[in-house]
Amino acid sequence: MTLAATTGLLTAGPATKAAAETHGFLSPTGVEIAFVLVGLVTFGAAIVTVTTRQLVHAALWLVVTLGGLAVEYLLLTAEFIAWVQVLIYVGSVVVLLLFGLMLTKAPIGRSPDADSGNRWAALTVAVAAAAALVWVVVDAFRTTWIDLDGPAAGSTEATGASLFQNWVLPFEALSVLLLAALVGAIVLSRKAKAESAAPDARGATGRDTEGAR
């Protein structure tokens, strides 16, 4: 939501700000109602994701949650970000999660140990983080309205232009961060291989790590 709202602000900010006075929270439009409904479904799926005792069900509810977020992006006219969300999170991250769950042979039915003593600490951190995020986003974008009837404020062209004109430095910094994480992962996997494997079994373990990657 944040990113889409940001692009909306960056690209169509001046044009839409003038129209902000005519908007209000009363008498919502169809899109706004749909946004709230999808948001509720997403929220519910997110709650089920962290409370269900069935591990694979949690992963599948995560699909619903991430898919719901993608729909919210679409409703905010950020089409590009919506499809990238589906591509990366639903298509790759959840598949990786399921791969891990299958590798550890997640049982069908409830896992009795799928709980943690840190439950209350986790809940506190989650609520605090959510409160901070909601506060910041609401405070920052309270007066921003996306013009749904005009040209899409979050189209691929608009997103790309704002990303590579106004936000190049954060973008590049993030790329370097990801590259560092990638190199770190390779170093870790090579180290584990060198320690655990005898020289003649090296080829086989190499294949295994390739598969898991």
Binding site: H57, L60, V63, L98, F99, I108, E210
Partner: protein, 322 residues
């Protein structure tokens, strides 16, 4: 009113294509495989060269009992075929077959990302089936499916990005509008990588390790019977239609042809798609199955570097010609 009628008509046409094209490819596969192996294939059903064989198969599947194993996760087991099949229907909506406004189900701004994202969702169906069946062969099939998807998603995405760079747009009709004939040699490496990676994502031979019948029965689909099993098979053939259509649109110029581009563009699209589908069948008959480690090696050590090289080449040429 007119708009609503237009939308309904488009959806209906896409739906009919979705129902018929996979069957045509399935029947072609029966016959092409048979002739390549020096036999006739189905000859009885329907009279002329057994044209109704797949319809007969469908009736057979519908009559079979729908069994859910006692130990299975019932709801996920039953939901999996739909998750595997429906994404391909959505992708078909975005593939343009002709130059006109009316020749595509729905113009999508970020079309390339849309089709790749939604195709990736289809694999979740196989994973759900593999886990929910409570069967070790299914679980192994699901594992192999996931590993294969993770390996081949990247080269597919990179080569599609290369075309998007060349065209300067990520919309599928936009890419075709920008197409020139010399893109064919320029993007040929990307085209081959995309097609091979797409075959792997569909788990077609020679990349059918996840359903290797001589080792793990039928992988994730082992426990399925009747209509649900037929839906998985239909998903495979719908996947062939989508992959061949996408390769045509992204790399082979879609509706552009040496002549007759006016009004006959859709014929070129269908022709190229059909030739590619024939190639898919041909590859199935020709090559033996790749082993799991060979599969991973092919992707990470050959296809990914090739697609990166293609992106570099695209970038250089793009800068030079500007």
């Amino acid at each position: 009113m007119n708009d609503a009628l237009d939308v309904i008509l488009r959806l209906l046409i896409v739906f009919v294509v979705f129902l018929t094209f996979p069957l045509i490819i399935g029947q072609t596969e029966h016959k092409v495989m048979a002739h390549m192996q020096g036999r006739l294939g189905p000859m009885y059903a329907g009279g002329f060269h057994g044209w109704a064989q797949l319809i007969a198969d469908g009736v057979k599947f519908a009559q079979k009992e729908d069994v859910v194993p006692a130990g299975a996760d019932r709801r996920i087991f039953q939901l999996a075929p739909a998750v595997a099949l429906l994404p391909y229907l959505l992708v078909l909506l975005a593939i343009p077959i002709g130059p006109d406004e009316g020749a595509v189900g729905q113009v999508i701004d970020a079309g390339v990302f849309f089709v790749l994202a939604v195709m990736g969702v289809g694999v979740l169906g196989s994973l759900m089936a593999g886990w929910a069946s409570a069967n070790k062969f299914s679980l192994l099939g699901g594992l192999r499916t996931a590993a294969q998807l993770l390996a081949y998603e990247l080269p597919m995405l990179l080569t599609a990005a290369s075309v998007a760079m060349a065209a300067g747009t990520v919309s599928l009709p936009g890419i075709l509008d920008a197409f020139e004939w010399w893109w064919l040699p320029w993007q040929i490496v990307g085209a081959i990588v995309f097609f091979v990676a797409g075959l792997a994502e569909l788990q077609r031979p020679p990349f059918d390790m996840p359903v290797a019948d001589s080792e793990i029965i039928f992988g994730a689909y082992t426990e399925y019977t009747g209509l649900r099993f037929a839906l998985f098979l239909l998903a495979e053939y719908a996947g062939i239609v989508v992959l061949c259509g996408l390769t045509t649109v992204l790399f082979l110029g879609g509706w552009h042809g040496p002549w007759g581009a006016d009004g006959l563009g859709w014929v070129w699209t269908l022709l190229k798609t059909a030739v590619l589908a024939f190639l898919v069948i041909w590859l199935r008959v020709t090559y033996p199955r790749l082993r799991e480690d060979q599969l991973q090696k092919l992707s990470w050590t050959l296809l990914v570097p090739l697609s990166l090289a293609q992106i570099a080449l695209t970038g250089i040429v793009k800068v030079v010609i500007q």
